[in-house]
């Protein structure tokens, strides 16, 4: 009880800080310095219609690299954690009743569609809302579906890892190419910018985002797979 009271008091203090922030907050009337630059220069410099994508993949590409690294790391660590002290010998040997026919069929039907949707989302990331992360999450949901239909299914970790690693390497490689061929790390202008709004535009962004999509998908899948392979406690 004392703990609750104390926490409440502390949060009241924090709420004071937040209240201060809200009170002193005044919405901008116009875009600030950075935002204005992005609004005005993205089209010609980057060639991406979706400015958020341009920022994510290019201007703040390093963040994004870090971001996929976070997922990569999480996937690796989840694997590490869950294999930590894991008894050898693989599967639990537990027999579950097979999933319903409906679900099985649905899955077989849906998985390719979902994968396609995911690919669409990240390939068009520079044009429309969505991109590698969203697309990757969608890809992972396909795997999720597979796992749901057959909890004992073992997803090929090798494949997932290979995709993940390759995508990551390509990402870094493109970044390095930016230094060699263009103005700096992760500069997208190693490829022609093309025309705004077209699929093949915005330089390397679609490529990068696609690989991000693959990578994110692989990473989420790997996490899900690892968690699903845990044993009941």
């Amino acid at each position: 009880m004392i703990r609750r009271l104390f926490v409440t008091l502390l949060l009241l203090g924090l709420a004071g800080v937040f209240a201060g922030l809200v009170v002193s907050y005044s919405p901008d009337e116009t875009l600030n310095l950075s935002a204005r630059y992005y609004a005005e220069h993205t089209a010609q410099d980057i060639g991406a219609a979706n400015i958020v994508t341009a920022i994510i993949v290019t201007f703040r590409g390093l963040d994004t690299l870090g971001e996929v690294t976070v997922l990569f790391l999480t996937a690796a660590i989840v694997g590490l954690v869950l294999s930590h002290g894991r008894r050898e010998g693989g599967g639990s040997g537990r027999e579950l009743p097979p999933a319903g026919e409906l679900l099985g069929t649905g899955t077989r039907l849906l998985v390719p569609l979902i994968l396609l949707l995911g690919a669409h989302v990240f390939v068009n990331g520079h044009l429309t809302p969505g991109g590698g992360f969203q697309g990757g999450a969608i890809l992972a949901s396909a795997i999720l579906l597979l796992l749901l239909t057959d909890p004992l299914r073992r997803i090929s970790h090798r494949l997932i890892t290979a995709i993940e690693s390759t995508a990551g390497l390509v990402f870094v490689g493109i970044g390095v190419l930016g230094i060699v061929l263009a103005g700096g790390f992760l500069d997208n202008r190693i490829l022609p910018i093309g025309n705004l709004g077209e699929l093949f535009s915005a330089g390397a962004i679609p490529i990068i985002y696609s690989f991000i999509g693959l990578k994110v998908g692989a990473e989420f899948s790997s996490m899900l797979a690892h968690l699903s392979e845990t044993e009941d406690l």
Binding site: A15, V22, P27, I56, V78, P129
Partner: protein, 118 residues
């Protein structure tokens, strides 16, 4: 509107933290943290909101030339995107930990893991 979202966000943060700091159950703590993270995301997006503008996507309705007057600030959105992904990463990690912790002591009570102290 920005104010509403912002206030909601802050409230979510506080609620989340309250939950994380008072629930002894590790899974509940993690749930509470996701709530707090959502709150943070709300606050961030709200900060970038400009009244009466559209999403920062150049298309037919937002020509390049008018972009600076028509769109809202894209930066917070980019940041939030990153934050969400990082958040899910951390959540996944914490969940894996929770599983292992449960495996080690057969309990999810955080106060049971006090072997290390002082």
């Amino acid at each position: 509107m920005a104010y509403i979202a912002m206030a909601t966000g802050f409230v979510l943060i506080l609620i989340g933290l309250y939950g994380a700091l008072t629930n002894r159950n590790i899974l509940r703590m993690i749930v509470a943290f996701t709530v707090a993270n959502t709150g943070v995301n709300l606050v961030m997006v709200a900060v970038g909101y400009l009244h009466g503008r559209t999403a920062p996507i150049l298309d037919a309705s937002v020509p390049v030339a008018e972009a600076a007057e028509r769109i809202i600030d894209p930066v917070p959105q980019a940041l939030v995107l990153t934050a969400i992904v990082i958040g899910v990463g951390v959540t996944a990690l914490m969940l894996a930990y929770a599983y292992k912790l449960y495996e080690s002591k057969r309990t999810l009570d955080i106060s049971a893991f006090k072997d290390l102290k002082w």
